[in-house]
Symmetry: C2
Subunit: 233 residues, 2 copies
DNA sequence: TCAATAGTGTCTATTAGACACTATTCC
DNA sequence: GGAATAGTGTCTAATAGACACTATTGA
């Protein structure tokens, strides 16, 4: 009780003219050999009819971390869980939302593309529908969401080189070609097969399964691989 | 006092749906061949008497970006401007502040160590004094500030290898040894002179001034250098 | 002179880039 | 066999690591 009294004596009403806070999440996956992001269409102003990254206000009565909020939004939008989610950056320019001061903590999710088939995408209450858009051919976006996605591209291009994020976009079992394709899409350039394999082998542990992936058409059937996560603390 | 009482009796945290938002800033510089951070001592609960990163609530009536808020806090604390400031990460776990839900956008500043001499450090209204602490020997800190500084160390260790942040900690004119020392301190290991120079020369443009730095004691006087920033968009 | 710091040359080891060769499948 | 994809070997170029040598100063 002593503690509470201390707290309150320090209370200043001005502290409570707080900005609103949202957590927005850019949900990414690979579709048709292209890195795409799931965007909703806004049902209400501001930016009614514009595309935007899904998100929602932080509800302080839910007892969740910001990351859990992002995961919940991902769940609400896509029904997916156990997906890789990472904080990108926080955006808080004073007039980024014309209504009032809104600070947005942006996250991104990397969805393995094999999960997209069974995906039934739901737009939230404040959105009409959700669709996938190429990160390279974006429509006009609400707020500063274009800037957010630009920052995201830069983050991915950097991190694909020294972290295992590429694997987050793949099914549990994958082939060398599939893995290489992910790198090529994120980096925006083609890589030489032999050199790519040598490099990846030097960085990660890949278990060669005793299975081959069935292909349509000609070509030698490729070996299936599994990524073995090593704890590097 | 009567008024305060009123305020308190009317105060119901549930009336306020938005979390509070603070911008905190870890101010770093190199002192005695060590990377140090400026920490204030908290004057009020919670964590009264504990050390913390300086910061303050986001005031929505100031028309400033989050980065400008960080720069203002840096200014208030140290009187310094034109200092490199970068967003680190946002921390919003539900119980990181025992009073209420507080979301903190953490920034860091890199202060050239030649500016420290003329520095008269002011603690804010809610702080007793401010002192420099080695990032490797931190006292107990308020909130999750230890975690913030841990994340900051990781960020610096990574970014020193592919960005020019090391130069932000140096005076405009510096020597090879001074630059190498900054890298060694951030990376936590010693480097070989010749290899270090070759690497840096391949990455950045350094202009050799026609001046030498006066040293105390023996040794060949070193050339002074200037870092030439190249726009790489 | 020596100790101390600065500046450079160069040999070797490692890693990255290029490219060709073999392997397996479908038609 | 030929087209298509997969898997491997190896030469070369570029980069990183190690270390020794020279240069310039103060005591």
């Amino acid at each position: 009780m002593e503690k509470l009294k201390d707290d309150l004596s320090n209370y200043n009403p001005k502290d409570y003219d707080s900005p609103s806070v949202t957590v927005d999440i850019a949900i990414l996956s690979i579709i048709e050999n292209d890195l795409k992001v799931l965007l909703i269409k806004r049902k209400y102003p501001p930016f009614r009819g514009y595309r935007a990254i899904p998100g929602g206000f932080v509800d302080i009565y839910r007892n969740e971390t910001l990351k859990e909020t992002a995961l919940r939004e991902l769940m609400e939008e896509t029904n997916l869980k156990d997906i890789y989610v990472e904080q990108l950056k926080t955006y808080g320019d004073p007039n980024r939302d014309p209504r009032k001061r809104v600070i947005t903590v942006a996250y991104f999710a990397l969805v393995p593309y094999n999960l997209l088939k069974k995906l039934n995408i739901k737009a939230g209450d404040d959105a009409e529908d959700a669709q996938w858009f190429s990160l390279k051919k974006l429509p006009c976006l609400a707020f500063d969401h274009k800037k957010i996605l630009k920052d995201l591209c830069i983050r991915l291009e950097g991190k694909v080189n020294y972290t295992d994020i590429a694997f987050k976009l793949l099914p549990k079992k994958f082939t060398w070609s599939q893995l290489q394709k992910v790198y090529e899409i994120i980096l925006g350039r083609s890589l030489l097969r032999a050199n790519f394999r040598r490099k990846i082998k030097s960085m990660y542990v890949l278990k060669e399964l005793k299975e081959f992936k069935k292909q349509k058409g000609a070509g030698r059937p490729p070996l299936l691989l599994k990524y073995i996560k090593i704890n590097t603390l």
